[in-house]
């Protein structure tokens, strides 16, 4: 707790080495970027794992790396590795810890996080948990599970420290004039998510401690027999995969909210900026974000021990249809209201943000339809669940992350991502995710409806599975396009000389790109207005940045 921080105005050291600049740095920008690199690495690793699974599913005869030997266990380990990489290190780390670390201090006008050394500790704990997850995947199943739980505990600890850091920064380090009402919605989302993280991850940590003690000290906090008794008969074939699955679902429950919240904030921010309109019903959106956090916490807390941790308890359905219903509706209405009658700037970032809205609405509607279904029966067809939550949670969140990346890339690196490649990538991805995950819904419904005999179902299912796998391969190849764009733009992309290429309002655009050490130069920023002053009549420009004083605005008239 008593963390002494490096002073912002320490004497200029002549060109620190790579280690000091990137590895041991306590600069929030470096740490944020490090999180993003970590997420980029994990997302491609996770994609590769999912391809292995798809190929194995369709052509079981093909010899694949990591899937030799006792296939059932290896397959379960593969699933868990894919899931934990994507959920923890991509969906949790990128939008919250990555972009949040970089842009939360910049957007509220702070020069640093509240506790920079704690921040560095969180990052390295996160990196270590990635290492642990990888070891868990490669190790023998028994040790693997222990490693996995320990890594998750480490990740929870890192997220706790992060959550404390983010909330304190937002509460105490805001610039002069940055009242709560003037906070950008991204900051609101990060802030609420940080508070939610401090609550939820400590429960996760407690659960991991109990699980670890079960495994290492032979205690019986989670009696395995109770769990197995409640399962459909098909599940008790092999104890080990069940345990893997159970743990995976158990943690995923909380993660849904943690992953989605910052994405809501990012999307709202992007939609407003590129519609050149204020966020419609901004106050209500803030309330809705709080609502998501509150519901997320309550629903999950109730789930935790009360429901006996059935892994197939109504995960996504209840999420969208009941608990998230009201705040989600408010968010969607606000997004559509912001888009209404706007002069849209359809660049790649905006496309991804709209893609998020589209996926979220599609998932929400199917979620509402399905909420009434008997979930015990639906649980049998886990392909349905797989399709549904990938589309709503995984893909939607990825769209928000990509939109934010295209938006902030000029600020991060002083260069622009290629728009043409970006748009091609967007449309390929957009088509690809629907082609991959929509048939999965259908497969799930088909296999669990009793309309056809077993052999007919098998005949119908096989070509669809093949189709999904081929679509998935194409989808992953399309991501190669993004990787090329990213790497090429990093070194050769169009240079951005101006500070504010998108003509956005928030404080990060008032500093050079990339921002210098200490972020704001010699003077502290002062904030004079709300975060979404677009389309103000009577001005030469159609926006007013937050740091522009009334005198300067008057001059512009």
């Amino acid at each position: 707790m008593a963390n002494d921080d490096s002073e912002a105005d320490q004497p200029e050291t002549p060109q620190p080495g790579f280690l000091a600049r990137c590895v041991f740095s306590t600069d929030h920008k470096v740490i944020g970027l490090n999180y993003l690199w970590l997420a980029l690495f994990s997302v491609f690793l996770g994609l590769a794992m999912s391809l292995l699974m798809r190929i194995h599913l369709v052509w079981p005869g093909v010899r694949l790396p990591f899937l030799s030997g006792s296939s059932l266990e290896r397959y379960a380990a593969l699933t868990t590795f894919h899931g934990s990489l994507m959920v923890f290190l991509v969906l949790t780390a990128a939008p919250q810890a990555g972009f949040g670390n970089y842009f939360l201090p910049l957007q509220i006008g702070a020069r640093e996080m509240a506790f920079p050394k704690l921040n560095r500790l969180s990052f390295w704990a996160t990196a270590a948990s990635l290492l642990g997850l990888t070891i868990a995947f490669l190790a023998a199943p028994e040790t693997g599970i222990t490693f996995w739980i320990a890594s998750v505990a480490l990740f929870s600890f890192a997220s706790l420290c992060n959550g404390i850091n983010f909330s304190v920064t937002t509460i105490d380090l805001r610039a002069r004039g940055m009242t709560l009402a003037r906070l950008p919605l991204t900051v609101w989302a990060w802030f609420i998510n940080a508070i939610l993280s401090t609550l939820i991850f400590s429960i996760l940590l407690a659960a991991s401690v109990c699980l670890l003690s079960d495994r290492l000290l032979t205690t019986h906090f989670f009696p395995p027999l109770n769990f197995l008794a409640g399962q459909p008969a098909g599940f008790v074939v092999n104890f080990l995969p069940v345990l893997w699955q159970r743990l995976f679902w158990f943690f995923a429950q909380a993660e849904v909210y943690i992953a989605m919240l910052p994405c809501f904030g990012l999307t709202t921010h992007l939609l407003s900026t590129f519609s050149r309109k204020p966020v419609w019903m901004e106050r209500l959106v803030v309330l809705a974000l709080c609502g998501v956090g509150l519901f997320g916490f309550c629903v999950w807390g109730q789930h935790m021990f009360a429901s006996g941790m059935n892994p197939f308890s109504p995960l996504v359905f209840s999420l969208l249809a009941s608990s998230l219903g009201l705040p989600a509706t408010i968010l969607v209405i606000s997004w559509l209201g912001t888009l209404w009658n706007a002069r849209l700037q359809l660049n790649t970032s905006m496309l991804f943000a709209s893609g998020f809205v589209s996926l979220f609405i599609a998932g929400g509607i199917s979620g509402i339809f399905l909420a009434g279904h008997d979930l015990a029966a639906a649980a049998v067809s886990d392909e349905f669940i797989t399709g549904h939550f990938h589309l709503v949670m995984g893909v939607a969140a990825t769209f928000a992350i990509l939109g934010a990346l295209f938006f902030w890339f000029p600020k991060l690196f002083g260069r622009r991502l290629n728009e043409l490649l970006g748009k091609i990538h967007f449309w390929l991805t957009f088509a690809g995710v629907y082609l991959v995950f929509m048939p999965m819904h259908w497969l799930g419904l088909l296999t669990h409806a009793n309309l056809y005999s077993g052999s007919r179902i098998a005949a119908m299912v096989a070509p669809v599975r093949g189709f999904i796998t081929i679509a998935a391969i194409l989808l992953v190849i399309a991501q190669g396009l993004f990787l090329c764009n990213f790497l090429w733009s990093l070194f050769r992309g169009e240079k951005i000389e101006e500070r504010n290429p998108w003509r956005a309002t928030t404080l990060e655009w008032s500093v050079p790109s990339p921002p210098p050490a200490g972020d704001f130069g010699a003077t502290d920023p002062v904030v004079y207005r709300g975060a979404y002053e677009f389309g103000v009549p009577g001005l030469a420009e159609d926006f007013v940045p937050q740091h522009l004083s009334p005198e300067e605005v008057a001059k512009a008239r």
Partner: protein
């Protein structure tokens, strides 16, 4: 508002915030840096020292959730189990509890000495608090040894698992508090940016919380028998 240069619009929107949280933005006169001066634009401010107490408050909520998760696991498993073997709590726990409660009082006494600028009295009571804290942890270790001597191990039954997990997790957290107490005892006050009273205050939040938490856990263990 101290700032005469501050534009009128700022005040307008501060009123506009609504909700009880209306913290005006940090406006220049935080605790140690010598009070508000009128010209805040054009110079850097070090981050508000208030962040330490905010951080400890949030951390405490988080720690509370950690123990609540364990406690709810305890309650659920206690009710769901047909064969609950009770653990006879060693009587030394009561003595430990008294020691810990006493340490809260000495901590407050130390802080009172500090506010009346009696630095030797502060040191005396502060060291006494540290000593009491360490002896509490030692007492908990003795309780563990007594249980082990009776043949009650962590994996013996669910009740004993919970006993060890509760006391162990609490002791780990309390050792963090002891670390903070020691840090205050031996810090060199001159070149630090946070004042002694602030560190003492932050530590006291944590310490009293650990104190109350222990009473709660003990009550839970007794009632759960």
């Amino acid at each position: 508002m101290p700032g005469t240069t501050s534009p009128p619009e700022i005040e307008l929107i501060i009123e506009d915030i609504g909700g009880g949280r209306g913290n005006p933005p940090p406006d220049g006169d935080h605790g140690d840096d010598g009070g508000g001066d009128n010209d805040n634009r054009g110079r850097k401010q070090s981050p508000s020292p208030k962040r330490y107490s905010t951080a400890i408050t949030i951390a405490l909520v988080s720690i509370l959730m950690f123990f609540m998760a364990l406690a709810s696991a305890f309650i659920v498993l206690r009710h769901g189990s047909d064969v609950w073997v009770t653990v006879h709590l060693p009587p030394i726990l009561l003595a430990n509890t008294l020691i810990l409660l006493g340490s809260s009082f000495t901590l407050e006494a130390a802080r009172r000495r500090l506010s009346s600028a009696d630095s030797s009295g502060f040191r005396k009571f502060w060291l006494l608090t540290t000593g009491l804290g360490i002896s509490f942890v030692a007492g908990q270790l003795i309780a563990w040894r007594q249980l082990v001597a009776q043949g009650v191990y962590i994996a013996s039954n669910q009740a004993s698992s919970f006993f060890y997990i509760f006391t162990g997790a609490h002791a780990v957290h309390l050792l963090g508090g002891v670390g903070a107490l020691l840090y205050v005892s031996f810090r060199k006050s001159d070149q630090k940016r946070i004042s002694l009273s602030l560190v003492a205050e932050t530590t006291s939040y944590y310490w009293h919380f650990m104190d109350g938490l222990w009473v709660f856990l003990l009550a839970l263990l007794y009632l759960g028998k």
